[in-house]
Amino acid sequence: MIVAVIALGLLAGASGLLLGFAAIRFKVEGDPMVEQIDAVLPQTQCGQCGYAGCRPYAEAIAAGEADINRCPPGGQNGIAALAELLGRDPKPLDPESGIEKPKMAAVIDEQSCIGCTLCIQACPVDAIVGAAKHMHTVIARECTGCELCLAPCPVDCIHMIPFAPSITTWKWTYPAVEVKAAA
């Protein structure tokens, strides 16, 4: 009897130590779910969802605080991807956060730019270069089209230009066929 109690006690103690050690040694930093959600988001960092960027929105979704239909740049495809990831039903985009638009890039009208640096400070991905009282310009390749630079500009010299179709970005479209029911 006493042997059994001691044996079981030792076993329980050893297991407890092992588990305690594993909890410290193999601790997962951050929430892996947040990473996965963040990977699906378009990384525009536009804040239209009401959060300060894609990652905060991902954290809010993971915590169950935000719905999955608040990302206009991701659009319906993005919502579908989130729904698939989280095992929920897709739903239409929340019109409160914005509408889905074709991808665009900001372009500064360099004639009108006064070099105030406000847009540089607003750009979430450092895609605008320039210095105080010198002309600014957008690195088109890095621009995510978040539109955050539009509002601060005091002379309204920034415009959103849609991407021109080119041979390299052209895609075959979904076949436009009407399937007839067999008679």
Partner: protein, 502 residues
Amino acid sequence: MSALFPFHGGLKTVRHKTESNQTPIQAGILPPRLTVPLRQHIGAIAKPLVQPGDRVLKGQMIGQPDGYISAAIHAPTSGVVSAVDQQPVPHPSGLSDLCVTIESDGEDRWIDREPVDYHRLHPSELRQTIRNAGVVGLGGAGFPSAVKLNLAGRSEPLATLMLNGAECEPWITCDDRLMRERAAEIVAGLQIMAHLLGPAEVLIGIEDDKPEAIAAMTAACAGTSYEVRPVPTRYPSGSVKQLVKLLTGRETPVDGLPVDVGVQCFNVATAYTVYRAIHCGEPVISRVVTVTGQVHRPGNLEVLIGTPFAELIKQCGGYRDGVERLIMGGPMMGFALHSDEAPVTKAANCLLAAGPAELAAELPVLPCIRCGACMDVCPANLLPQQLYWHARAKEFDQARDCHLFSCIECGCCSHVCPSHIPLVQYYRYAKNEIWAQEKEKQRAEQARQRHQARMERLEREKQEREAKLRQKAPVRTEVAPHLDPLISAPSPTKGEGSGQAG
């Protein structure tokens, strides 16, 4: 004769070779204006070397290869560059691309052409010469040949060098005529390729509906160890992976290249341009194009790159009545041109003026009945029906898992489908979407990293500011009560500095 290893599936197509292969290759006329696209190959677009107003000579390089996988572009005739801008190019989209427009001066004056003794050149110099001559695969893909002629980094020597003269598309005869008329030159080009690659065997695959070409090539190969292998006429035997299987029995792995199984394959016309580049010092500025279908005098023309397609049609007697579509490439794998003003490129092997007889009638699309006919003809051993379901439902991951990217878009499945489903269109759509998504993902990842770097920078700056403030604060409290001259001395400057910062 060695055994053949038939590939899975394929089709017996109705041959239309005799329409265009009865007459010798004609020289194309020199058009007054040539529009030369700077992207005629797979890889990066060539960098323009000329500006409007420049005089150029025939064969002068006007576009420089930009990076390893890229190709040089040359002036097809002498004249004056009138524009370097966006012009319509032959592409399924009908969009424009960067082109050099040359107004011909009618003199057709060459640069100094220097033939090269390739035995004396170091292999890398020889490859460089071929690269500078703008040699790309002329079978239609346009992959830079100099890249394929470099086996550096592969430990095993090449087993087989293969020349593709199968020409399986039912209407195209440009390779057929080239082999009949210029077999010796093709074999001379092949010798240069063999010199670079050092293969154990050299095979030439030609479909057996071209007996004259087989005879001519066999005669030209006399005295060499090169072997001409007639292959049964079965579409798509001219597709690289299928021809490799047919002649060597080796299967190219998924996501792999024939060179992974020890085979390197070139088109016969490519070997011909290698010959021109080395033995004549002439870059690729012309090619043989089959003009066939609803034109008055179908045939093969050797035309300058940049010649508008309309000129070719004119030289072949013009359109007959009832032309509905102009197709570049064959009816199986080609695409409809938006205009006949687009120019001939290195990849343009055939121009088919298609009337109702050449086009498959547009029949109503019916639901898939799961008959499996597509699977029986798929030369890539895929399940076209399964791919169709996934592509149609936009389930791209599943389509990829069913080896969507092994599809060679030969069109056999669409051809046999009793429900007339445009299967290949679905596969092309799915492939394009997957590529676009992939690109989008890369962009997003880049934006994420830039955003993160910015946040870290802002945080660092904030901490630095706070550290400065903290540093300033203790100095003041110390100085005031003790009035120690040693400590108080630097304090005004510090106070000033932080005052500015604040």
